[in-house]
Subunit: 435 residues, 2 copies
């Protein structure tokens, strides 16, 4: 039997680990898929760079699109990341009749419809376990193991950089900047962490999960998002005082007729609940489906080893022909699907954590409570510490409140009115609670 | 296209839920598998029993083997449980060229080799996600999503009844008997809970997971096991004092040359670690693989809804033809495989919790410590509370110890010698720590 020839695009940390596993474990691999698997061509930026991998120079190319379309390649593994040239290369591979394995979340979140359309036209499969949650088999779980369910709810920690930073802000009381620098020095954050910390990366991954769990095609632009880069350590400490941990959560909730709620934002999660206990660079996905109930899956969400594990699993899936059957049964990113109905802030009710900077004088708490009450927001608990003798007499003092369930729209209006009060120094802080 | 005709064996709580889902969601089901799925024949004990399902009486049969072999049935779903007549029916189905979905852990653990041999001979698939962990997609995860890994370690909570009882003994300080009665009254334990609480059910499930994760064919008889039915609430309280929770764990660990460690036993698990926080009737499976690292998956481990979710997922898998490809790539329970090498107690080193009932007089702690030391077991911490004035002067008092790492063989010998001391009232208690 002919061996299966892999064309690998990208030889960064994940690409190098995949190449190593394909070469080191060729026997185990062959037993699993029934054919030998060989690394036929590899697209890299600089073919002359020193590498620990023993790859003949004639297998290297600087042109990913050429590798993707090369007639001697059977399966293309795209691990370059980013939109271009990954998009052009993946489309070239599919049009040339090759199956594709990719770990590129941005590409699928932004161009899923185009890519899956190309895959359908050529009858090929696109496998993408590595695009969400590193080595956690969440794509297989949602698409295959839990395929008999109707999902109502999904909440997930999908960015290891953010979770590492938040865990350290919580545990050591560090500021955001200090925790970010620590994450960078330990390799848990990039030199330019913008797409991680502003919630974009999490939104990419949520768009993919929502396609699988709810069959809804959303691009990242449709997902309201808020990152962790404006979080203050004071709010993490107050949340802890109230029994909560702050996590950057991706949330999708089916409100039935009212539509789908989608959101990426820092949320208060009750300590002791499963997502609150996910610390460091780990990721976790909690789903609630009918009939299965609640399920949680967690593990290392990024890094060479975990992502390579997902890519190798996908390679086996593609080579044995299973991925093609899954693609047909799931019909992901179908052409001409209407945009899903997203629910309005009026239909989303949640408890919220609020922090105001107020003038330290009588009646202020009363005026704020009055504004909240006028907008139908009722208060569950209040923290106001005695500022003590050391503080300047006229310095604003913090006032922390936890509300009962209230609609987002009512809270929007209330917060706007409160920030106009003379005794309040805006902007006030507001974080939702995910119960 | 012809519809797919299901033959369902067993219409208990899980069977009835599967039947309901197949009938209620036929549209969604057809979209997933590309054909209509109909419930053609159902084997029940009593066809005249009142049922909420709207099933014509001519689809019912009292003979599962006849339903399994019926020419008008395409796929057989076995949900009777127990070895016979399930075994005969499943073999009949496979020999008649039908794919099989089963949630029967005892059947696979005891007769996996025979059943998978029959499946291979007829080129059919056996899907069994529901056999382990209820709705948790652990079989798909190990067999497909994580298929590129080498597993070194697996620890799991696999019996919801035991976990519910232990959670309540921990939280409310109940005795085993009280917690069991509470579990029975809430429907979390059978009237005869023997196979659950003595560890047999957990061992069945471990045998299946070990086949998937380590490729080792073990029957339940090879797995040393200890249940929770002899646990005393005092030990749960002392464990809590030391920062641990007691869980019934299934553990498999690859010691390389020394062999495979397999064990079902109550274990001390450090509070705050992922498995310690799995409470109530939930199940969870933690695996450590290379390159993926540690992964945890948890959810409801039993009950009609979760198990039906797994069965429906398997049905889709079988009907679209994916299960057959998985079966070929995994080659489970291969014929003629040698029995795996199991490691000896000499090669297993762990920390242990010990409780002795000792005479309350000087020098006893010293004699016990001496015996332990003679066998190479060193002590990490000791709890001995002042018995107070209320106790009878000659009543034995408890002495609790936590050891450092020691081999099981050394500890076996030490415990035997200690229980022979005149100042000790045997039997002493010993529980391993799973770090």
């Amino acid at each position: 039997m002919q061996p299966v020839a892999i064309g690998l695009l990208g030889l960064g940390t994940v690409g190098a680990e995949v190449a190593r596993l394909v070469m080191d474990r060729e026997g185990a691999f062959a037993r699993r898929v029934g054919r030998w698997v060989v690394l036929r061509k590899v697209a890299v930026r600089d073919p002359h760079k020193g590498r620990s991998l023993d790859l003949p120079i004639d297998r290297l190319s600087t042109d990913p699109v050429e590798v993707a379309g090369a007639p001697e390649v059977d399966v293309v593994v795209e691990l370059m990341g980013g939109i271009e040239p990954a998009r052009t290369a993946v489309l070239a591979a599919l049009r040339a009749g090759k199956d594709v394995v990719t770990a590129n979340k941005a590409l699928l979140a932004e161009h899923g419809a185009e890519i899956f359309d190309a895959a359908r036209r050529s009858g090929r499969a696109v496998a993408f376990e590595g695009a969400v949650g590193g080595g956690i088999p969440i794509i297989q779980s949602l698409g295959v193991g839990l395929a008999g369910n109707r999902f109502r709810f999904l909440a997930a920690i999908l960015n290891g950089t953010c979770n590492f930073i938040l865990s350290n802000m919580t545990r050591s009381g560090l500021s955001y900047d200090e925790a970010l620098r620590q994450a960078q020095s330990l390799g848990y954050a990039e030199a330019d962490p913008a797409l991680d910390v502003d919630g974009t990366d999490t939104a990419h991954k949520l768009a993919i999960l929502v396609q699988l769990a709810f069959g809804a095609s959303v691009t990242t632009a449709l997902i309201p998002r808020q990152g962790i880069d404006t979080l203050q350590s004071a709010d993490i400490q107050y949340a802890a005082e109230l029994g909560y941990t702050v996590k950057l959560l991706a949330v999708a909730r089916d409100h039935g007729e009212a539509g789908l709620e989608l959101r990426v934002a820092p949320r208060l999660v009750r300590r002791g609940s499963p997502l609150a206990e996910v610390t460091g660079p780990d990721n976790a996905i909690r789903t609630v489906g009918e009939p299965v109930g609640a399920t949680l899956i967690s593990g290392q969400g990024a890094g060479a080893g975990p992502t390579a594990s997902a890519v190798i699993g996908d390679l086996i899936d593609v080579i044995v022909g299973r991925a093609a059957l899954t693609a047909r049964s799931l019909d992901l990113w179908p052409g001409g699907a209407p945009e899903p109905r997203l629910c309005s802030p009026r239909d989303v009710r949640r408890r919220s954590y609020l922090r105001f900077s107020i003038a330290d004088r009588p009646g202020v708490l009363g005026s704020i409570a009055q504004v909240l009450g006028r907008h139908g927001v009722s208060i569950a608990s209040v923290i106001q510490h005695d500022p003590g003798e050391d503080d300047q007499p006229d310095a604003p003092v913090p006032l922390v409140m936890m509300t009962h369930l209230a609609s987002e729209a009512d809270l929007d209006a209330a917060m706007e009115a409160i920030d106009r009060l003379l005794v309040v120094s805006p902007p006030s802080v507001r974080l939702g609670v995910e119960d």
